[in-house]
Structures are given as C-alpha cells and as structure tokens.
C-alpha cells in the first residue's frame, strides 16, 4: 500500500517534469529523457563512477566523523547538567556558522585534499547530530535507570544496556539528517576546491552552461542517497525496532 503510493508519487513528479520540459527550452529545463541519457553516458565512460565514488567516500567518512563527535557531545550534554551548560553554546555556534565557511576554512588549513573535505563535512554535520542525541538522552526513561541501579548494574552497563538502546531512534534520525547535510557540504567543498567528485563536475558543467549535465549529476547523487536510505538505513531501522508492535491506524 505504502510502496504503491511512493511509486505513484515519484511517477507524478516525473510526469510533471516531463510536461514542464515542453514549456521551457532545454537550456532552462531539459526533459527526463536527455538527462537520463546523459547519466547513462557518464556511467558508460567510467568517469561517472569515479566522481560518484569520490563524493560518496567523502560523505561516508565525514558522516562517520560527525556521528562520532555528535554522539560524544550529545551523550555528555544529555547525561550531565554541567556538560549541557558548558557545550550548549559551542553547539549553537557550530550550528549557526554557514557550511561554506567551514569549507573555506578547512581548505585553507589543510589544503585542497580529501582530508580537508572530510573534516569540513564532519564538523558541519556534527552539531545537528549532537542536538538529536542530546534530546534523545534527555528523553530517556529515568525509571529504567533507577531500576538498573537498584539491581546494582555497573555504570558501563547502565549506559550500554539501558541508555544507548533507548537512543537508537534518535541515532537513526540523526544519521538521516547528517547524511543530507553531508552531501550538501561535500558538493560545496568539491565545487570550491576539489578536482574530483560530483561538486567538481557540477562546477565543470556550470562553466559550459549544460543544464542537462547539471541535472544528470544531481540526479545521479539523489539515486545514490535513495539507495543508501532504502537498502541500508531502512532495513536496519526495521530490525532495530522490531520489538515495537506495529501501529495499526
């Protein structure tokens, strides 16, 4: 039922695009057919895979860094009042700095390389993860902690067996959010200072005024993200929340 609706909604979007492409010239809005043909060509040449791979690997490493930093800060802020007061302003400042500033700073500091890209992605995405985890830890059922203490569980067990499992839904939400941010900052970094990746290709085709290729590269990456969501995150979520009885509406 839900899958049919999803397919239907995508089909409507595609049809809308197809229809509008007749209204505008191909420099403004090329239709789905030339765009998919361009994607096919890019992949045939092997170049396509290389640039997608570069961006995906930067996003993945950046995401891991963001999750690592964000979970650490989020746990400290959620578990200790002092930690919350101390790091709250850090996270807020981190959140307000525009992503492009992180990109520029990292490129200036570390040079035009993958390391700079990963650091920029990780640092940009981590405040959002930290906020999610912080809220998640604060929503933890304190009665369960009291239960664990009454049964004299050591502190490591309290965190590992009672605190962390309750934060799984928040970790998943944070991962999704960070994934979206990471891909945006990755393209920005690549556009400014890299000679590979989807952002670089967008920059290249922007220089040649090829709307078809700009859309082709954007769409390629959207497909990759959809793949990550439906093939990796979704099944994990289903398994991790199997204990929750299905909600019947």
């Amino acid at each position: 039922m839900h899958t049919t609706l999803k397919i239907y909604s995508l089909a409507v979007l595609l049809a809308l695009w197809f229809g509008l492409s007749f209204v505008f010239s191909e420099h403004v809005l090329p239709g789905p057919l030339p765009v998919f043909a361009a994607i096919w060509d890019n992949l045939q040449s092997g170049d396509g895979f290389f640039h997608l791979y570069k961006t995906v690997s930067r996003v993945v490493f950046g995401l891991v860094l963001a999750m690592f930093l964000g979970t650490g800060f989020g746990l400290v802020m959620g578990l200790s009042r002092k930690g919350e007061k101390f790091f709250e302003s850090w996270v807020m400042i981190g959140l307000t700095i525009p992503a492009v500033v992180y990109a520029i700073i990292c490129l200036l500091w570390f040079g035009l390389n993958d390391f700079a890209a990963v650091i920029a992605i990780g640092v940009t995405a981590f405040p959002a993860v930290a906020i999610n985890m912080w809220q998640g830890v604060k929503d933890i059922d304190m009665q369960l902690i009291a239960m664990g203490k009454a049964f004299q569980l050591p502190k490591t067990d309290l965190i590992r067996k009672i605190v962390l499992p309750q934060t799984v839904p928040y970790i998943l939400a944070a991962t999704r959010y960070a994934l979206g941010i990471s891909w945006k900052i990755a393209t920005t970094v690549e556009l400014i200072g890299m000679s590979s990746g989807v952002g670089y290709m967008l920059h290249y085709w922007f220089g040649l005024f090829s709307m078809t290729q700009v859309l082709a590269w954007t769409l390629s990456f959207i497909l990759v993200l959809l793949f990550i969501e439906y093939v990796l995150i979704n099944p994990f979520e289903k398994r991790a929340t199997a204990w929750r009885p299905a909600v019947q509406v």
Partner: protein, 257 residues
C-alpha cells in the same frame, strides 16, 4: 534469607529556600526471616523513599538499618535484594528471557547458567512459552510477572515490592496476589511489600505496619494470623480489613484532617 531491623530511620530532603523536608521521621520496625510484612500508608507518604533507601539509591539522614545484625550496605558481600516496582520497568527492546537475565549479566554466571536461571524463574511465575516474546506483546499482568522473575533471579535474601499490582485491574491483581503468595511459600523469601490498599495488605501479609503521612512513622501494627493460602471471602480477613480501616480513620483524626 535475612532479617531486617530498621531503627529510628530519618530521611530529610534539603530544599533551596526552606528548612529541610522531613519525609521519614523516625521509623522503627523489624522483619523476621521469611516473613511477609506490608507497609501500609496513605499515598504520598515516605513509603517509596524507604524502598529507595533500602535500594541504596538514597542515603539516609539518620538512624540505622541492620540486615542479619550487620549494618546495611549495598556491596558485593551484603544481603541480596530483589526489587519489583509499581510499573514493570522492563527493557522493551529485550526479549522476556533477556530481561530476566539482565541482573545476572554483571556476575560470574556463564550465558548458559543465566539462561537456565531465567528459565527456572519464568517457570515459577508461569511464563514458560513466553521466553522469546517482547514485553510490549504481553499484558500488564504478564509484564509484572516478568518483573517478579527478574527480581527473583538474583536469588535475593529480601524481596522489596513497591505497589506492584496497583496498575492492574482488580481481577488480575487478585490473581497476581495469589501467585505471589504461592511463590513466596515456595521460595521462603523475606518480603517487604509497600501498598496503600488495605485489603491487599490484609490478604497478603503475616503482619502489616500502618504508617503515617509525612514525616512517616509507624502508627500501628496488625498481625494477620490466618493460614495461607487465604480466601478473599474469608470473614476473618474481612474483619481485619475493617479493623485496619478504623485504625486509618483514627490516624487521620490524630494527624489533623
């Protein structure tokens, strides 16, 4: 197995701009080895605080608790305590079996021993066949049985229960009380049972302590000298329930209501 003596226990909570709030004001009682004692008091008195102190979650402000004659401490060598709370407090993401195994995981038991012990106590609370269920797939009464199995699996010297049946409907609560008496007779545990339900306390206990509102003290003690297993319709229990109700009324008058 253990006996407990509480001598002149005082618990005060510090308040920001006020004198400390005295929740327990000199509580004295003793529980014999293997005895089932209820602590019966109005809602909002220091009953749960008393259990938190016994759980080692709260320090006491004055007085003394002795278990088997030794000053009470919650460390590895001390008497083992099992807890059942008002709500089941299960880990919903763990199976029933793994919930019961939780308190054993810090110890020296192998996985197989943990599973065997969990299985034994799940049998005792009559949940065999439900080991692989998740808590949210069970009814409230069954969840509370899991909680009782989890309290028993540590093979405690004393079982501490904090209004464990108050969130169940009366029919299920009655079933659970009868089950609890059966389990208590099979395991010979010392039980301290906190409740505000007079007929529940009368039905379950060897002896019940009627305690006052804050600051909590023992107001009266009632022996329930009726053989187990008891019948809800037993006239003697009914008379005792009326007697305890009168004690409650007298206590309310004395404490200015």
């Amino acid at each position: 197995m253990a006996n407990i003596s509480v001598q002149n226990l005082v618990k005060k909570f510090d308040r920001a701009n006020d004198k400390p709030l005295e929740v327990i004001g000199g509580l004295t009682f003793a529980v014999e080895d293997g005895e089932f004692v209820s602590i019966l008091g109005p809602s909002g008195c220091g009953k749960s605080t008393l259990l938190s102190i016994l759980a080692g979650l709260e320090p006491l402000s004055g007085g003394e608790i002795r278990v088997d004659g030794r000053p009470f401490q919650r460390d590895a060598n001390a008497a083992k305590l099992g807890f059942v709370f008002q709500q089941p407090r299960l880990l919903n993401w763990r199976s029933v079996r793994r919930n019961v195994m939780l308190p054993l995981e810090r110890g020296t038991f192998s996985k197989e021993e943990q599973q065997r012990l969990a299985g034994r106590y799940l049998d005792l609370v009559r949940l065999n066949g439900f080991e692989d269920y998740f808590p949210l797939q069970l009814s409230g009464g069954m969840q509370q049985r899991v909680a009782i199995a989890r309290a028993l699996v540590v093979e405690p010297d004393v079982l501490l229960m904090d209004e464990p049946f108050s969130s169940l409907d009366e029919i299920n609560a009655r079933k659970m009380r009868a089950e609890l008496i059966r389990i208590w007779q099979e395991t010979k545990k010392t039980v301290i049972f906190v409740t505000h339900d007079i007929s529940e306390a009368v039905y379950l206990s060897n002896r019940l302590l009627v305690v006052t509102e804050r600051p909590t003290r023992v107001f009266d003690t009632v022996e329930i000298d009726v053989r187990y297993p008891r019948d809800y319709d037993d006239d003697r229990l009914f008379e005792l329930t009326k007697k305890v109700s009168r004690i409650f009324l007298r206590m309310e008058e004395r404490h200015g209501h």
